[in-house]
Amino acid sequence: MRVRQEPWAQQRAGAANPRRRAAALLAALTLGAGLAGCTSIEPWVKPYEREHLADPIMALSRNSIAASYRDHVFETREGSHGATGAVGGGCGCN
């Protein structure tokens, strides 16, 4: 006696939807990002106040291949992946 597992049948049909939704989200964000470049919101942390943020210890990741490797070790042993992101912040120079 086989136990039918419904969600997979539905998922096959719906597989395109998450992608379409994600593509729409991507388009909206790109548009938003483009528009945001035009407005002027006064930065509340001035460039000359970014000393602490520019300190190497405040880097979200001090070395990319070491951080990537560590993420990779977890991903191969766990069921979760993704959203371990990216590096930014920093000195605001240039």
């Binding site: 990002a33 070395n63 070491a66 930014g88």
Partner: protein, 408 residues
């Protein structure tokens, strides 16, 4: 025939189902949020080692990054895994094995004003698996450089093969003659979209938000791993091939905060939530502390907690043969708790007679991973405890990274 003997024709159990293996490729290139600044020229040499559950994976990773002109930065990374496996999965249904996986990655970042455009390509190859990944991202600084937004897209193609043992050999010893199974060739395709936002909140506080959605389609199972179902006689169970769904969509979202402490140290905390259509839900909580000590030394400590619920088609022991459409016993899809404790040290030094190297560091990092499975049992002890009543499996692993970095 005892269920624990190696099945004729199978060579070894892979470290993981192929659906995870494409992530090996992507996991090694973290797409940075660059915004309006190109990364610095850098060269790194790393030795990495994972050892736990009778699996050892170690090897080198070499990175070179160089600016070409004012607006372009190129990156190359060579990575190798030398795998030696006699894991619990291997011992249950196959034979120990050694293999090498090699990976080459190429990336380019192009800066125009406050925007960085990045593209990259990764090629990973091992005897029975070839994975190709391409990725594209746009990173933009805005609001007085307090905000960086990064949008990314990746596309991966996998070719899955299977190896066989052409010669009979004793249980729990390596196969002396491995050949490729010419009848087995499967494909898997992957698409991923990601959004990242880095935000300066105060002069001492940074925030990072990430969201990612991925779809996998094709052959997502493992050609070597098996499930077991209860059967009378012998050790109380029979092995059977696993059956995976042909598609998976997953969502992950994370938030991280990093705070600068007045005595010059940094404290970070992060949370990530993951859910996919296999039914796996994962929550990750991590905290890191970074502290400079003496001149040139920086120490790091971290504590990570991870909890996962099992996939809807996962079971350690199915009640009978052909119980459901989809069946898996991969412990990566089981329910478990995991704690990881990590420490690291970094030392900055000057290389004599080389003024063109303006900064160099020697680094070491050690993590201890402790996984407690909630519904994955040590099936090798079935004869002693009875199938389905064996003790729950526990895994402790040591992860080591030792690397040298120079900025020139």
């Amino acid at each position: 025939m005892s269920a624990a003997a190696p099945r004729a024709g199978t060579r070894g159990v892979r470290l993981l189902p192929p659906v995870f293996r494409t992530l090996l490729a992507l996991g090694l290139v973290v797409v940075p949020a660059l915004g309006g600044v190109l990364p610095e020229d850098e060269a790194d040499v790393m030795y990495h080692s994972y050892s736990g559950g009778d699996i050892t994976v170690r090897g080198p990773s070499v990175l070179i990054r160089k600016k070409v002109g004012d607006n372009l930065s190129l990156t190359y990374n060579y990575y190798e895994d030398m795998i030696s496996s006699a894991s619990i999965d291997v011992k249950l249904s196959a034979s120990p094995y050694h293999e090498i996986r090699r990976q080459n990655s190429f990336g380019a970042d192009y800066l125009h004003g406050k925007t960085t455009y990045s593209i990259g390509y990764i090629h990973s190859r091992e005897p029975d698996y070839i994975a190709d990944t391409s990725y594209y991202s746009v990173s933009q600084d805005m609001f007085g450089d307090l905000t960086t937004i990064t949008l990314g897209y990746r596309r991966a193609w996998d070719n899955v093969y299977r190896d066989l043992c052409a010669a009979p050999h004793p249980t729990n010893s390596e196969c002396p003659d491995i050949i490729n199974d010419p009848t087995f060739h499967q494909r898997a395709d992957h698409w991923g979209y990601s959004f990242g936002l880095t935000q300066v909140l105060t002069r001492n506080l940074l925030a990072l938000v990430n969201y990612e959605i991925d779809t996998d389609q094709g052959y997502l199972a493992n050609p070597y791993r098996e499930i077991r179902y209860a059967s009378p006689g012998g050790v109380g169970f029979t092995l059977a091939p696993q059956i995976y769904p042909g598609t998976r969509t997953s969502n992950a979202a994370s938030v991280q905060l990093k705070y600068y402490l007045p005595w010059r140290a940094a404290l970070a905390g992060s949370y990530r939530f993951y859910h996919d259509t296999f039914g796996v839900t994962g929550s990750t909580l991590e905290t890191d502390y970074t502290m400079p000590v003496w001149k040139g030394w920086i120490f790091d400590g971290s504590l990570r907690y991870y909890r996962q619920t099992h996939a809807s088609f996962y079971s350690d022991l199915f009640p009978y043969a052909n119980y459901s459409n989809f069946e898996a016993r991969d412990r990566e899809l089981a329910a478990f708790d995991s704690w990881t404790l990590g420490v690291g040290a970094s030392y900055e030094f000057q290389i004599p007679h080389a003024p063109w190297i303006h900064k160099s560091t020697a680094n070491i990092r050690y993590d201890r991973m402790m996984i407690d499975y909630k519904d994955f049992r040590d099936a090798l002890l079935a004869a002693q405890y009875g199938a389905g009543s064996e003790p729950l499996y526990k895994l402790d692993a040591n992860v080591l990274e030792a690397f040298l970095s120079i900025w020139y």
